[in-house]
């Protein structure tokens, strides 16, 4: 994709989110001056950005919205609820067009009509001034252009005095102007202050100059500061003198994500290699204690530096969740409108930073859960009133950091999920028999909605019935090494809780010993490890069980699951995991160390082996198979 467009997609969506947040405030407090200002700035900047691309419809729409906000700002026309709704409709349309630009690089044919429709919803359209296309060229611009050959663009850039504090460098922006012909830096106040009065971190300059490039190209260089620059194209009869521009200067480095991934992989390997030092120190111990001690001290240093490096790289991979989450409110409005259900959708925690892989992979499953919540969760307004709830359904999405994990919750105040109906439907669809269904706890019954092909909707609706089930949501979440849990109270609503590891580079593993071999188990699959007396294992039917914390938990032999024989022992070491919301204990011969390592997905011969989620290379060069407990125990 064109780099400029890529920039725009990120910035544009950011500005849409800023404006949306301001409109949110305005919907609650129509006169909030800070929100009007915030919305105006975002819309104004966005208008400047869309002008670079073939997005005339968006430019017109934003211009009209800007007019409305400008009048509200000056107090000549207050914003009422209808005006705010009109502004939101404009913003939604622009957001859709940005999506279209991302998809196809152009707007669909109906964009002009759609623009006219949303603009018509804005107040005071008849009295709105028509955009003045050609403005008179001011004297300063003519002066700058004097002596230039051919048609030039004159610019006057008056940076915000506080821009240095934000990390901006206006000189770098100017250096990126293509075909720069001349530059002057003047004091904004008319004269430079004496050194005693000079504040070094306050921008007191105005940058003026000319460029031989096209107006659009010069405007593109100022796309981040469109409100601080004036541009004028000055025609001349003579031929333009082409001048190779200075290479683009940027203060931020944009790096191909693949390179960061390669770096992360390399650090993963380094951490694994460092793991080899401890056994070497142990081997040196009987030969030379002093050497072994020095060895261990060196090992500790390398480990610390490697871990620091890993943290730095993990931070580079962190991206804000906002670009993923901020697309959802518009989707929610569209879905709710299609369903004819009034809803209030609130998002919080979008400032949270997560690993880029998670930020990228989260949108689809969240959209699906949102669709489901609006379609199946939230009742019709009539049914809600009957149940004594406000007609407007509430859906909230929150993102929060929880220790080493990122927690994302989507909650609705709809009708909840009826476990009895889920059981019935599962039996009717032949997923399990009636006895098995009756034995499931309510929590386990709810999890049946994640079974492949399961859908309890009585009628396939246009919104949710797209052939993607909740099984796809679960698969997407698991692909990101996340888990998904459901709480539902009949009549009161449903809450989906998604949990992801915050640091996706290495996986903490517990090494276990089984039938003479060692295996790795992802620590986030282990609920607890316990040691019980062999006598506490009770034969039940054909299997074994034991009582843990007052609950009967089935006990499986991991050795037998792996095709080996169980070794009798006086005490049983149990690894408790969770399978579809139910606890299952796996008997192992011993627990060994905890390691942090890079787990590679299974390949070659291993790829087809069920219950193996990957493999990792140990410090001594050995390979450790990583088991997928829920699959083995299911």
């Amino acid at each position: 994709m064109d780099e400029l467009l890529e920039h725009f997609l990120v910035e544009g969506r950011d500005l849409v989110a800023q404006a949306a947040a301001a409109f949110d405030v305005l919907a609650r407090e129509p006169g909030n001056a800070a929100a009007i200002d915030g919305a105006f700035r975002a819309i104004h900047t966005l208008k400047g950005s869309v002008a670079i691309f073939p997005m005339g419809a968006a430019e017109r729409t934003l211009h009209a919205a800007e007019d409305v906000l400008e009048r509200a700002r000056k107090g000549s026309a207050a914003l009422d609820a209808a005006a705010t709704a009109g502004l939101i409709a404009c913003l939604d349309a622009v957001d859709r067009w940005i999506d279209e630009m991302a998809r196809s690089g152009a707007l669909a044919g109906d964009a002009d009509r759609a623009a006219a429709a949303v603009i018509a919803r804005l107040p005071g359209q008849a009295s709105a001034p028509v955009a003045t296309a050609a403005e008179a060229v001011p004297g300063w611009a003519r002066q700058l252009a004097e002596g230039a050959e051919g048609t030039v663009v004159a610019f006057r850039f008056a940076p915000d005095p506080d821009c240095f504090f934000r990390g901006d460098d206006p000189l770098a922006i100017v250096a990126a102007i293509p075909e720069l012909l001349g530059l002057d830096i003047r004091p904004a106040d008319g004269s430079w202050p004496s050194l005693d009065l000079l504040e070094p971190f306050r921008c007191i300059s105005i940058l003026e100059g000319t460029s031989g490039a096209a107006l659009e190209a010069v405007r593109a260089a100022f796309r981040l500061v469109p409100d601080q620059v004036e541009l004028h194209r000055i025609e001349a009869a003579a031929e333009a003198a082409a001048d190779p521009g200075d290479p683009a200067a940027a203060t931020t480095l944009r790096i191909d994500a693949a390179r960061i991934d390669a770096l992360a992989d390399g650090i993963g390997e380094l951490l694994v290699a460092v793991n080899a030092l401890a056994p070497l120190a142990a081997r040196a111990e009987p030969l030379d204690r002093a050497l072994a001690g020095a060895f261990r001290a060196a090992q500790a240093n390398i480990e610390r530096s490697a871990a620091e490096l890993q943290r730095s790289v993990a931070t580079v991979r962190l991206v804000p969740l906002a670009p993923t989450l901020r697309r959802l409110p518009r989707m929610a409005r569209e879905i709710a409108a299609a369903l004819g259900k009034p809803i209030a959708f609130a998002v919080s925690g979008e400032g949270l930073e997560v690993d880029k892989q998670i930020a990228e992979g989260l949108f689809e499953p969240l959209l699906h859960l949102l669709r489901n919540a609006l379609d199946h969760g939230i009742e019709d307004p009539a049914a809600r009133r009957e149940a004594g709830k406000p007609a407007e359904g509430r859906v909230t999405l929150t993102a929060a950091r929880d220790g080493d994990a990122v927690l994302i919750e989507l909650a609705d105040d709809g009708g909840g999920i009826d476990p009895a109906r889920i059981r019935q439907a599962a039996v009717a669809r032949g997923l399990l028999d009636a006895d098995a269904a009756a034995q499931l706890t309510d929590a386990a019954a709810l999890r049946l909605i994640f079974a492949a092909g399961f859908s309890t909707a009585r009628a396939v609706t246009e919104v949710s019935g797209r052939g993607v089930g909740m099984d796809a949501v679960q698969a997407a979440v698991e692909k990101l090494r996340g888990t998904i849990a459901i709480d539902s109270t009949l009549g009161a609503g449903t809450r989906f809780r998604l949990r992801f590891p915050a640091n996706a580079l290495t996986t903490p593993l517990l090494v276990v010993e089984v039938a003479g071999d060692r295996y790795g188990v992802a620590l986030d699959q282990v609920v607890e490890t316990v040691r019980v007396d062999a006598a506490a294992l009770l034969p039940i039917g054909e299997g074994t069980a034991c009582v843990l914390r007052g609950r009967t938990v089935p006990v499986l032999s991991l050795a037998q699951l792996l095709g080996a024989a169980e070794r009798p022992a006086a005490s049983a070491k149990l690894l408790v995991t969770s399978v579809g919301g139910e606890r299952v204990a796996l008997r192992v011969d011993g627990f060994a160390e905890r390691i942090d390592t890079v787990v590679r997905p299974p390949s070659g011969l291993l790829a087809g082996v069920p219950g193996v989620s990957g493999a990792t290379v140990l410090g001594d060069g050995g390979v450790l198979l990583v088991l997928d407990l829920p699959v083995l125990a299911a």
């Binding site: 206006p170 250096a175 830096i185 000079l198 070094p200 971190f201």
Partner: protein, 77 residues
């Protein structure tokens, strides 16, 4: 270091960030007669350039950075 201060000369080298503006300003306030050597400068933040413009400090050398050499140097001389 992107700012190196000697008795008579202040050297700006490499990519001078905004923070250098303060260092440069203090050095020029101490001794306004100091010459600023730009020969090794790749890039100057506007904050740094502003101090040079306001101080009208004598400069010497042609900046290593193309943009500085072509567009800024003549404003400083």
């Amino acid at each position: 270091m992107t700012v190196r201060i000697e008795a008579e000369v202040i050297h700006l080298a490499g990519r001078c960030p905004a923070e250098d503006a303060d260092t440069l300003l203090v050095a020029l306030q101490e001794n306004p007669a100091r010459t600023v050597e730009l020969g090794e400068a790749q890039r100057l933040h506007l904050a740094v350039a502003q101090v040079l413009l306001a101080a009208r400090a004598p400069v010497r050398g042609v900046p290593a950075g193309d943009f500085l050499a072509r567009y800024l140097l003549n404003l400083l001389q």
